[in-house]
Structures are given as structure tokens and as C-alpha cells.
Symmetry: D2
Amino acid sequence: MPSIPVPNSTDFNKRSAMSSASPLFHGVVPPVVTPLTASLEVDYPSFARVIEHLIAGGVHALFVLGSTSEVVFHDEATRRKVLEFAIDRVNGRVPVLAGVVDPTTDRVIAHARTAQSVGASAVVATAPFYARTSAPEVIDHFRTLREAIDVPVVAYDIPVCVHFKLDRHTVVTLAREGSIVGLKDSSGDDGNFRYALMDLADRPEIMMMTGSEIVCDNALLMGAHGIVPGLANVDPAGYVRLYDLCRKGDWTGARREQERLCRLFEMVWVAAPRVSAGSAGVGAFKTAMRRLGIIETNEMARPQRALNDAEAAAIETILRQTGLLA
Amino acid sequence: MPSIPVPNSTDFNKRSAMSSASPLFHGVVPPVVTPLTASLEVDYPSFARVIEHLIAGGVHALFVLGSTSEVVFHDEATRRKVLEFAIDRVNGRVPVLAGVVDPTTDRVIAHARTAQSVGASAVVATAPFYARTSAPEVIDHFRTLREAIDVPVVAYDIPVCVHFKLDRHTVVTLAREGSIVGLKDSSGDDGNFRYALMDLADRPEIMMMTGSEIVCDNALLMGAHGIVPGLANVDPAGYVRLYDLCRKGDWTGARREQERLCRLFEMVWVAAPRVSAGSAGVGAFKTAMRRLGIIETNEMARPQRALNDAEAAAIETILRQTGLLA
Amino acid sequence: MPSIPVPNSTDFNKRSAMSSASPLFHGVVPPVVTPLTASLEVDYPSFARVIEHLIAGGVHALFVLGSTSEVVFHDEATRRKVLEFAIDRVNGRVPVLAGVVDPTTDRVIAHARTAQSVGASAVVATAPFYARTSAPEVIDHFRTLREAIDVPVVAYDIPVCVHFKLDRHTVVTLAREGSIVGLKDSSGDDGNFRYALMDLADRPEIMMMTGSEIVCDNALLMGAHGIVPGLANVDPAGYVRLYDLCRKGDWTGARREQERLCRLFEMVWVAAPRVSAGSAGVGAFKTAMRRLGIIETNEMARPQRALNDAEAAAIETILRQTGLLA
Amino acid sequence: MPSIPVPNSTDFNKRSAMSSASPLFHGVVPPVVTPLTASLEVDYPSFARVIEHLIAGGVHALFVLGSTSEVVFHDEATRRKVLEFAIDRVNGRVPVLAGVVDPTTDRVIAHARTAQSVGASAVVATAPFYARTSAPEVIDHFRTLREAIDVPVVAYDIPVCVHFKLDRHTVVTLAREGSIVGLKDSSGDDGNFRYALMDLADRPEIMMMTGSEIVCDNALLMGAHGIVPGLANVDPAGYVRLYDLCRKGDWTGARREQERLCRLFEMVWVAAPRVSAGSAGVGAFKTAMRRLGIIETNEMARPQRALNDAEAAAIETILRQTGLLA
């Protein structure tokens, strides 16, 4: 899978019709952190450094405007600007996937049209939220989205935020009919993910990705094509090493690297329960990235709380223990 | 409590400073259904009829852009137009509360500023959603909202949508410090609601409302000031009767009326599980209102599903059994 | 309901047989605390005092071996002895209902046969637990139990322990066919309880009881026949007053008494989160009863933790504030 | 860990005593199905055949009286007899672990004493259930159990039944202090399991086992010592092959065998939702074992429901597709 196509909105459907046997994307696809200034504006110079840090680490694509990007905290204008900036900065070096996360179908379509218009390689959409839905309505949601736009759709399974699980049958139905080109599974339900992988084994162009930071080796052993770990913002090279070890079949080496990354991931519990799980997780990534000189602040969008100095010190210790600081 | 003040944004804080001992609102405050055309646009002629139907039924205020209004399905422009239309149409006859429901603080503030600018009497806000938050962050959320605007804030507790419960201590803290002027409790946790009522017994200006359709008599017996039943879209006069019976202390009569309304409420299970609980509930109200000649269609915003003819027939039977159709 | 046998242990049941339109039991039915010695044996002298305290308070029946009795901590021999002791001590003054709480049907039947053999007026059974079941299997569970014994069965809905909700349709089906003679609803789902009451309005002999301590007035307003508050171990006379006020239709007076009892009930949060909700609740009742001189210790069955001195002092303050200590 | 006694029933345990750096048990440890007669008694001739089938398949130990054994459906006398029969029949060929599953500490101790007295190699205990507990109380539960008996204790994490999760910190605390010698993780939370494995990497004598049927390769890749799949009742040789492939580091071969077993495992959904998840799962195993000539009936303990003929036919198809029937 040497050449990753960067689709543009016009030729996607043509390629799709040719039925390529490779997934649209693969490899390490970090959900990119959105750094903020002290006044809670997007800090674009820092954002540029994040992008360079990730590409220098060897990642295969970027996922902008995901949960780790604090997407639901940003209004439409900010989302467009963040996405435009990222696509411009990346300048074709890797594909850029765009999260289009909002509660309901038509609002998701509006975000997706923006993403398409600024050149995103794919959009990543969750099931509806706040609204209570059902499996058939969720299927309609993805179908309606797909029909409204001309850019590939990746389904994003994140029940901890959406409170709805994209089960195997929903995923397989949507994939086989062409409504989605892949899945980002952040559910932690490895059994369901495995069955979806097995059910789609004859459709290798469907990209199956895990959102886990801590069982990436398992997911790749089961046949996943990619990994989307928020922690890759801190250590992209580590996840690229992990991915490469798995691709080579060096599962023992992969486990060793994965375990180091698990130790690094413990940063997400440093600030809990003082702050929410959301603040503690992304806040830890931002705090680590500040310490590594990549971004300026560890500010979080309101009403989330930033990590404090004691928590930052604990994270610095973790960075040293896992080899990211001397 | 004969004269309900209709605050405007400039004199609210003055009144508040005078420390009135009455709640800002009281009585029956329906969360107003948003009718749609066959092409899924807002059907304003039908919307006007809904408003007249509710005011003719004797309701004491209107809650526009709540969950029953399918608020999260509407974009900012639509929300503004719906709210402007309602306020214009109501023309001061009753207060108009505006839902400002979106995932995070700054986005809620944006909706609230719009609501303030078009003359809403109060805004109604939930805890953040999609984002995972904690009690201290939820308190910050309401404080930040309150400081950003110049119109009273009502807290909206709806864990079935938001997946966070506004517990007694959060509500009492926010009420006592002036961050909120009231609560709409759609949680079904009557014990928590009772304790909040007891804790705030010395602050009768804090408006405590239940979102239940089926235990309104209980809530009023416990001391609630108002009720916000979605079903009041179908039978506003019934809920006004229920409210008046409770106010008079005729609890036996109130129970009888409440039980009739409970039978009417059974319409929300007609379409389940063919459609989701969200579609089945608001969809039933719309279907009943169509049959009663108030609105044109029973269409639901995407990806929700409208009720079908068989379900509409079952709802018609319920309307007859409960005295709303001859 | 021809096939339901009339239990023969007390005069009460003969009365019941003569009046098929009354529920088998009614009024205040405390779930009786099981006091323990310092070595964690049942403290029978204290237990005798509890029984006298409750009867002196005017309660209408006793529910022995419920959750508040720490039933699942006791083995079969202890359960039998506790029940025999209670029935002997009560000596027909009020009916004695026996909890028969264990995970599965045949084990529940074994407890129920013991209860029947020692003269319990009825048995109180939950849905299966640990085992994962479904609504049809739960219905079979109660039917099989009913067929195996010759004493009335009360269904006990306590999803916080059993993790299964006895919904309206299950309760109504079982009641109409004669498998159960009543319901103890400890679910907190007042809407479901109201619908079950309404559905069974033509069957007044079906006894509908709430397990709530804090919305008893609501339950009685909705038509419940009885209340089963664990807190009645501490203040039986208070709950009898509340019940009598409701029966007289003095809902304002009832609310006042209910609110005092709500303040008393706040004892259950004194020890949380140091200990579990289970330990904090029953532990608070035991601690209060020790302070009132009814029982000797506040020990809890293993692995629960007893309340400490600081917590006991806080509970003493609550007893003073609510008029139970001078 | 000086105070942990070495069980004396088998040569295996002597080996274990000689090598303190090995886990007490390892490999494939099926939770043994308990076959029933048409009159719902334990069918001992069938049970004997199950045991021989498992040992012939090459399994490394047996886990009797687990959830798959329908343990909570059996009374104390039955449990003792089942365990005695198994130990007698096995006759030292492999270790026999005994489930001691009941709601509370002292009742678990009673079962554990029986298990010890009849020669079980270890007991397997869950957190308390029905009773609401907390992490410190759960730790006390295991400590109290450990102190009361003279046989090793394995912690059994099965939140779907117990509704309490044994998190990493609880497991590690109990293991390091010698209260438990291992863990059976049936939680599906692979991340938590991985961290417990990492935290105990310096204590290889602590036996870490997964209860999964479908991600055994993942668990073994992460360092687990054993697997406890209910499906091994149907295909013990398949799981032994899977285990051996993992031990050899043939992860590609392991994945292939695991995927075949995943296809076989799909039998557990054949009867859902007609029957509960519990009935559908163990019921499917029994139905498959009946078809394979190992047991006489597919009866389930009450109130569970046995699979019907159509479901049995569907399972037969699965057996053919996965190579277990010609």
C-alpha cells in the first residue's frame, strides 16, 4: 500500500467505481489537537507547529476537528478556518480528514459541505446525539449525509460522547452499500470491531481504524488498517514505530512499544477527578505538548479546565520516564 | 400571582435587584412544537396556529426551541427566525422563553445573545453534551453563560439527552448565587427535585418547573411553580385545568385530570420501537396536532421518522378515548 | 382471582378473605432492620425491641428479610430463624411479609417454602439477578414461584440491586393472572408506577406499595395502598402520621410531615462516599436506632462498613433537628 | 507470598510449588457446562462425558461452577455434589477450580470452605452483588475470604452479572498483598486488563486469564497466562490449538484459528432476542454439545429458556461451517 491517494471531491466517485482494493487511508492518523491562546482563540502558530511535529513524526494522515480537537467547542466559522489552515499547511503531504461533528443530520451536512469545499480528503461523522435515535435512523443519517456530498464519509463510533453504539451490523450495512468508506472505532468494544473486520474481509478498501491509544497492537493484529490515537499528538514517532512493527509482524517488539505508550498514556489520569475525563485527557496532551515546546499554552475551551502546575509536573515526570524528555 | 411580568432585557436586572418574591414565570409553559412542511422547512402558518392554540388554551408562557421543538435539528438562522416569529406573534400576551441548546459554553452563549437580541424573556440552557464534563465544569458553564448575557437563565435538566444529571447541589448553588432563575426538570428524578424545592423554599422567586407530562400533580403538590409538558401542545386546556385544580388544592380532581392526560400521553408509545423514542414522542404530538387541524404535516427533522398511517389511526383512537375528538 | 389461597396464619388474612375488594395489606409496612452484635451475629434482644418499636409506632405490617434487613447477607438458617423470631414475637398483631431474595427461581422457591412453613403472610420476591434474564423469563419466574407455594407473592421492583426493571406490562400481567397480589416499587420510576396503578384501578385487591422514603405523599396521592420506607425503622410514628394525613386528604399537612421525614432521610448521605450507598443507608438507620436506644450496635454484615463516630454525631444532629431527640 | 498455601490435590500443584515464578494455573481453562436432565436435575452421566471431552481436547484445567455452569441456579447441596463429582472424575489429571459465586462475603466463604474440603485447587470469587458496594468494601471482601480459607483465591471480574468492575488498582492491590493468586477477566475491558498485566509484570506467578471467547489472541499477545472461554465446552481442541499457536508466537496462525472460533461463537446470538442473553449463550453451548453427542438435553435451569428446534438447526449449520460437523 505504498501510494496513498489524496482524493479530491471530483474524482472520488470515479475511483470508487474502479473498485480499488486498498483502503482510502491507512497507518497512523492522529486526531490533531487544536491549541488555544491565553484568550481562548485558536493559536495558529502553535497549530502549525503541531502539524509539522506530526508530519515529521511520520504520520500517514491527519484527522482535524475530531473530539481531541475539541470540535464541538468550535463554531462554524472557526471550524472552517482551522480546516482551511490545516489543509493549506499540509499542502498535500498527507491526506487531511475533517470531523463534521454536530447533533443532527442537516447540521452535519452543512459542516461536510464546508469540508468538501475547502478540500478535505474525507469527512468523519458520528451518529446523531442529544436527539434520541435508533439503528434504522442512524443508517438513514449516514445515507442522507453521503447523498448530500461528494467526498468520502468515515463513520465515527464514539459512544462515550454520543451514547449510541455503531454495532457491527450498522457498520457492515453502511460499508457494503457504499455509504461509508471506513470506520473510526473509539468504542473500546474490540469484539464488535473484530466481527466488523471479519465481515468486511472481502472488502479491503473499507478502512477500519481504532481510536484506542492502548490496544493498537491488538487492533492491527486483528486486521485494522489504521490507528487514530490522540496520544500521537505527543509522540507521533512512537505510534509510527508501533505501526511499522505490527506491519512487519514483529508482535513482540510491537507489544514493547505499545506498553511504553501505555505508560505515556497514564498522563490522562493525572488531573482526574479534579477535572472531567474530557479535560483530563486532552488537557494532558496539551500540557505535554507545551512542555515539549510544540504549543504555547495548555488552555482548554470553556467550560473545560486546564491542568495546573502540579499536574504539569506529574506529566513532565511521565515524559521523562517514557523517554520523551531527557 | 395575577400579573406575570414580561421582562425585557434592560429591566430584568433592576427587578431582580428589587428582589421580588415571585418566580419570574409560573403555570403551564408548553415546549412548543415546530411544525414542518413536506419539504422539511419550518411551516410558519402552522406554527402561528400552534401558538394561537396554546394561548387560547390558557397557557401562561411559551418555551420555544426546546427538545420538543426539535431544537438541535435547527441551525442558527432557523432558530433565530423561529424565535423572532414566535415573539412577534405572541406580541407580549405571555412571556416567551428560548431554548439555547448546543454542546458547549461559547456556542450556547451565541444562541443566548441572539435570543436576548430578539426579546426572549429568558433563556433555557442544558449542561454541555458530547463533551464529557464534571459538576464543577457544569457550574462554570452556567456562570459563564450568565455573565455573558443580560437575560435570565433557566437550567434545563434532561439527562436522557445530555447524559449528565443536574443534581440538587448544582441547582441550589446556581440558584442562590443568581446564575439561574429557575429549573426545568425533565429528569424523572422526583426525589432530587423535591430536595431542590425544599432547599430553595426561602427563595420563592426561583422558578421550579417539571418537564413531566404524567406526574404534574405530584410536582405541584411538592411545591413546583410550573409545568412544561410537551403533551400540552395537544391539549393545553387540559394542563391548564390540571394546574388550576392543583392551585385550588383540589388534589382529587387534579388526579382525575392528570390520569386522563396520562391516557392521552400513551400516544408516545404507539410508534415504538419502529422508530426511536425521540421520533415516537414528538412524532405522536405532531400526528395528533395534525388530526386536530392545528398543523399540516407530521414530518420530523432528519434523520427522525414520521409516524405512518396505522400509527396515526391508533393516535386518533386515543384522541377519541380522552375526549379530544368527538 | 379464585386460585389465590388465603393465607392462614393470622386473623388479618381471614378479614382479607372476606373482603375481596381490599388489598391484602395496606398502610405503613417497614422493611425491618436486622440488628447485629459486635461479633456480627443477629442480636435478637435488639431485634425484639425493633419489632416493639415499630408496632408501638402504629405500623400496619412488617416486611422482614428485605434489602434493608440485609437479607442477601444471611444464609438460609439465619433467614429462617429471623423470620420465625419475628412471627413469634409479632404474634398476630400485624401481618408479617417475608423477603425471599436470591438470584434464581428454584432458590427463591426454597426460601418461599420456608417462609410459608413458618407462617409468613406473604412472600416478597425480586426478579432474578446475577443471571441475565428477559421480560418473558421474569414472568415465568414469578409464575413458577406462585405455583410452587401456597402463600401470596408480592413482586419487589428494585433495579438498583437487581438491574432489571419490572415494567408496567410485567406487573399488570402478573397481577391480572393472579401470580402476584401486589407490588413493592423501589425503582424510583413514579411514572411507571402510576400507569400500573391506573391499569389496575379495577382490581383494588392488588396491593401497590412504594419503597420510597421521600415521595410517599405522591405515591399515596396517585392511589398507592401502602408505603415501605426503610426510614420507618427510625421514625415509624412519623410515617404513620404521614399515611393518616394522606388517607384523610390533608395533602398540605402530609407534605409538611413528608418534608420533615425528607430532612431525617438526609442521614443516608452522611457516610458517603467513605462507604458504599448500601452501607451508608442501612448503616445510618442502624446508627440512628442505636442513638435512640433501640438497638445495641450499628454493625453491618460483611463486607459493608459501619458508620464511625463522626458520622454518628452528624446523624445525632439530624435526629435533633427533626424532633426525634430533645 | 509466603502465606499462600499450595493446594495438594494434584501433581500440578507440586510443580507450581517448585517454581514460584510460574502462575498457579495456565492455558485453556473451560468454565464447564452443567448438563441437566429433562426434569432439570444435574445429568451426571452427561457431565462425565463433558469432562472427558474437555480433557481429551487437551485443556489445562477445569473451572467448575462458573457462570457458564449456571452456578447461581444451584443450591449448596447441588454445588457440592457437582464439584465432588468433577474432582473425583478428573482424578488429578488437571487442576479443578471451583466457582464460589453468591452475593455476600460470608456466603461466599461458606461455599469456599466446601470447595476446600472437597479438594478444589483454587476458588474463583466475584465482587458482592445485589448489595451495593464500593472499591474499599470489595477489597475487604476478598481479604476476608482469603483469611477464612486455606486455598488460593482467583478474582472473577464479570460486571455484566455483578454490576461492579474490578479495576486495575483493586486487582493489583489484592494480587500484590497475596489476597488473590489471579484474575479471570470477563469484563471486555481490554485496556484495564492490559494495565493490570503491565503492573504485575514483575509478579509472573499471578495468573491473569481472560474470559473472552473472541479476543483470546489479543489477551495472550498482551501477556495473559490463560483463557477461560465458555465456548471451549463445544470446541476444546480449537482453543488448545489457538493457545499453542500463541505460545509459539505464530500470531497469524492464531488469528486464523481465533476467527474460526469467532464464527463458531456466533451461535450465541441465534436465539436472541427470543430468550435472554444468558439463555441464548449457555443455551447455545448446550444445544451444540447435544448435537455433538456429548450431552443428552439442552435444558436450562429456571427461569431460563432452552433453545427450540429451529434454533438448534441454525446452530447445526454453524457447526458444519466451522468444521465441527462433517
